[in-house]
C-alpha cells in the first residue's frame, strides 16, 4: 500500500465491508480510511464497486457485513446524523424538472434543515459560485446537462456539509464545463473531506490527494498519484516499434537492471524502466529492427491498466 500523507484525523473509516446483489459480490472485504480535509479519488472499471461503496457511506445502501463510521458516527446507529454531514452528487443527478433552480435548492435546503433566514443568501452565494445567478428562476428542464450538473453540485453543498461525495461529476460533459467543475472541486480541498469517483484518470491525477484503485470490490492500490506512478510501476516507459518482434529475445532485455517489465503488443515493445541508465544498451539489442523509439512518463491510466490486469 502507498504512502500516507499528513492529515489531522480520520473522517471516514470503512472496515471489512461486504455487499452482494444476489449472486454478484459488489464489495469484498473493503477497507479504507479517509482523512479530514482529504480529497480521495476512487478509480476503477465499471462494476468495481465504487458506487456501491459510496452509497453505503451515504446510508443509501445497507451492507451485508462490515462497518462504516463517518466522523465517529456509525451507519447502523446514526444514519440521520451521517446523512446531514454528507453532500452527495450521484452518478445520475436527476433533478426535479418542474422546479426552478432556486426552488430546488430551497427544497433541499429545508430538508437539510438549513435555517430559513440563511437559506436565500446561501442559495444566491452558491449560484454565483457556479456562475448561474442569472438562471436562478429558470426551470431545471430548460438547463443543459452541464448547467444541471452545476446545480447538482451546489445542491450537494447547500447545507455546507463536512463531507462531499461526487460520483462521476464530469461524466459526459464538454471539456469547458468539465474544467469549471474540476476547478470548483479543487477549490473545496482542505476545507471539506471529498470523495471523487471518476473514470477520468487525468481528473484524479489533477485533483486528488490520494487515489484508490478499486477492482472487484477491493482496494488494489492506494496512494498519491505521484507515488502510484513512480514507486509501484516504474517511472519511464520505452516504446519501440520493430520489424519481426519474435526474433528478439525478451530475456536479454529483462537482464538490464533498470528494466522492470516488458509487454509486447503486436510489433511494439513497452518496456517499463526504473531509470534511463540502459536505454542506449536496450536500443542496441533491437539494432536495425527498431523502426521508431519513444519514451513516455507513465500516467495514472497506465497504473490503472497494470493494476486491474
Amino acid at each position: 500500500m502507498g504512502e500516507l500523507i499528513e492529515f489531522n484525523t480520520s473522517m471516514i473509516k470503512i472496515n471489512s465491508l461486504n455487499k452482494s446483489f444476489g449472486r454478484i459480490k459488489a464489495l469484498n472485504n473493503l477497507n479504507l480510511e479517509i482523512e479530514k480535509g482529504e480529497l480521495l479519488g476512487i478509480i476503477g472499471p465499471n462494476g468495481a464497486g465504487k458506487t456501491t461503496a459510496i452509497r453505503i457511506i451515504c446510508c443509501i445502501l445497507q451492507p451485508d457485513s462490515g462497518d462504516v463510521t463517518v466522523d465517529g458516527y456509525s451507519i447502523y446507529r446514526d444514519q440521520i446524523k451521517i446523512k446531514s454531514m454528507i453532500g452527495y452528487l450521484p452518478e445520475e443527478p436527476n433533478l426535479y424538472e418542474r422546479f426552478t433552480a432556486r426552488n430546488l435548492l430551497r427544497y433541499f435546503g429545508e430538508l437539510y434543515g438549513v435555517p430559513k433566514n440563511e437559506i436565500n443568501s446561501r442559495i444566491d452565494e452558491l449560484l454565483e459560485l457556479v456562475d448561474m445567478g442569472h438562471r436562478a428562476d429558470d426551470r431545471i428542464n430548460t438547463f443543459s446537462k452541464g448547467l444541471r450538473q452545476r446545480i447538482g453540485i451546489i445542491r450537494a453543498l447547500i447545507h455546507d456539509p463536512k463531507v462531499l461525495i461526487f460520483d462521476e461529476p464530469t461524466m459526459g460533459l464538454d471539456p469547458a464545463t468539465s474544467l469549471v467543475i474540476r476547478s470548483f472541486i479543487k477549490g473545496l480541498k482542505g476545507d471539506k473531506t471529498v470523495i471523487l469517483c471518476t473514470h477520468y484518470m487525468d481528473e484524479a491525477d489533477m485533483l486528488c490527494d490520494r487515489v484508490a484503485i478499486l477492482n472487484q470490490g477491493k482496494i488494489h492500490d492506494i496512494g498519491t498519484p505521484k507515488h502510484l506512478k513512480e514507486t509501484i510501476h516504474g517511472d519511464i516507459i520505452l516504446q519501440i516499434r520493430v520489424n519481426g518482434p519474435k526474433k528478439i529475445d525478451e530475456n536479454i532485455i529483462m537482464a538490464f537492471k533498470s528494466v522492470k517489465a516488458v509487454d509486447i503488443d503486436d510489433d511494439e515493445y513497452h518496456i517499463s524502466l526504473h531509470s534511463r541508465d540502459h536505454i542506449s544498451d536496450i536500443l542496441d539489442v533491437f539494432g536495425s529492427r527498431a523502426i521508431s523509439v519513444n519514451t513516455k512518463e507513465p500516467t495514472l491510466e497506465d497504473v490503472f491498466i497494470q493494476t486491474i490486469k
Binding site: 446483489f21 444476489g22 452509497r55 451515504c58 446510508c59 443509501i60 445502501l61 445497507q62 440521520i80 446524523k81 446523512k83 446531514s84 454528507i86 452527495y88 450521484p90 445520475e92 443527478p93 436527476n94 433533478l95 426535479y96 424538472e97 418542474r98 422546479f99 427544497y107 433541499f108 429545508e110 430538508l111 437539510y112 434543515g113 445542491r155
Partner: protein, 393 residues
Amino acid sequence: MSFATITRWEFTSTLKSRKFLLIFFMQLSVLGLMIIMFNSFAANIESEKGIFLTPSLTDFATVDVQDPGGLIQKRINPELIKIYPSNNNNSIIRLKQGETTGLYIVSADSLERIRKSESIDTLLYLDYSDPKRSVVRDEINSTNNAVASALTNSYLQSVNPKNTSQTGFKEEKSGEPLPMQIIKKMMLAVLLFLPLFLFGNMVIDSVVGEKERKTGEILIAMPITSFEILFGKGLAVVFTIAIQVAMWMIILLVVGFAMKNPIQVYLMIVLTSLPVVGITTIIAAYAKNYKEAGIGITFAYILMVGFLIVPALAYISRQSSAANISPMTTVMRLFSGETIPLQDIFWPIIIILLGTAATFWIATLIFQRDDILFGPRPGIINLSLQLLGIKKR
C-alpha cells in the same frame, strides 16, 4: 417534522401543475355528468312506468294475494313477484312456514267502494325474517301508487293499510321503496367517496415517479426517515383529496342533494382517505414502474370499494350493526340524519386509524429496503414472508 416540508412542497407543486388542474376540473365535469345521469335515472324510477331494476329476477319472490275485485292484483308485476291467489287461513300458514314472503289483502268490496268514492282497506303481512320482504314491500307500494295515480282521488282517497302486527310478521305501513333507497343513499355515498379513488395516480407519480425519474436516490440521501418521505407525500395527496371532496360536496348541495351533518360527513370521508392513500403507498413503494403500480392499484381499489360498499348495502337492507365497520355506512347514516350511537362511530374511526398506521408502516418497511430500489427485488411472496419474519432476507 421533515414530513411537513415534503407535504408542503408536494402540495404546492401539485396545485401549480397545469396537468393536475386539468385532471382536477375534468373530475368535476365527470361529477356533473354523473349528477345529470342520476337525476334522469331517478326520474324514470319515480315515474308511473318506472324502469325495471331486476330484469333477471323472474319469480324472485312470492306473495299470496287476496283481491276478489282484482283491483291491485292485476297490476302487480308478474315478472318479479309470483302471485298465489289467497285463501286467508292457508296463506297465514304458508307465511309462517316461509313458503311465501307476504300476504296482501284487498277488501272484497273494493270496486264497490271506489264507485262510492270511499277509501278501501288493504293489509300487507310480511315475513320479516325473509330478506326478500323489501322487494315485495317495494313492489306492492309502487303498485298501490300506480293504482292511486290511475284513479282519481274521488275513487280512491288513500291506500291506507291498518296496523296488523302479529308475532313473526310485521306490517310495513310506509317507507321509501328499496331501489330508491339504494339509489339515493348509495349514489350519494359513492359520489362522495369517489375522489378517494381518483388520486391514486398522484401517489404513484409521487413515489414511483421518484424511481422512474431517478430522483429517489437523492431523496433517500436526505437526513429524513423513509416514513417521513412517504407520509409527507401521502399527506399532500390527502390534502388534495380534501379539496376535491369539499368542492364535490358543495356542488351536490347546490344541485339539491339532501345532506345532513355535512361537516361530519366531510371529516369522515377525508379521514377515510388516509388508509386509502396508505394502501396506494404500499403499492407505490414496491412497484418498479407506473405499469406495475397501475395494475396493483386496480386490484387494491376493487377490494377497497368492496369493503366500503358491501357493508353499506348490508346496512340498508338489514340494518346490521356489523355493517358499521365501513366508513361509508357511517357517512350514509350521517347524511341521512340518523342519530348514531357512539360505538357505531368508534369502530370505523378505529379501523381507519389502525389502517392508516399499518399501511404506512408496511410501506415504510418496503421503501427502506435497498433491494426494492436497487435490486434484486424480491417477489411479493418472498417479501411478505420476510416482512412477517418467516423467512430470512
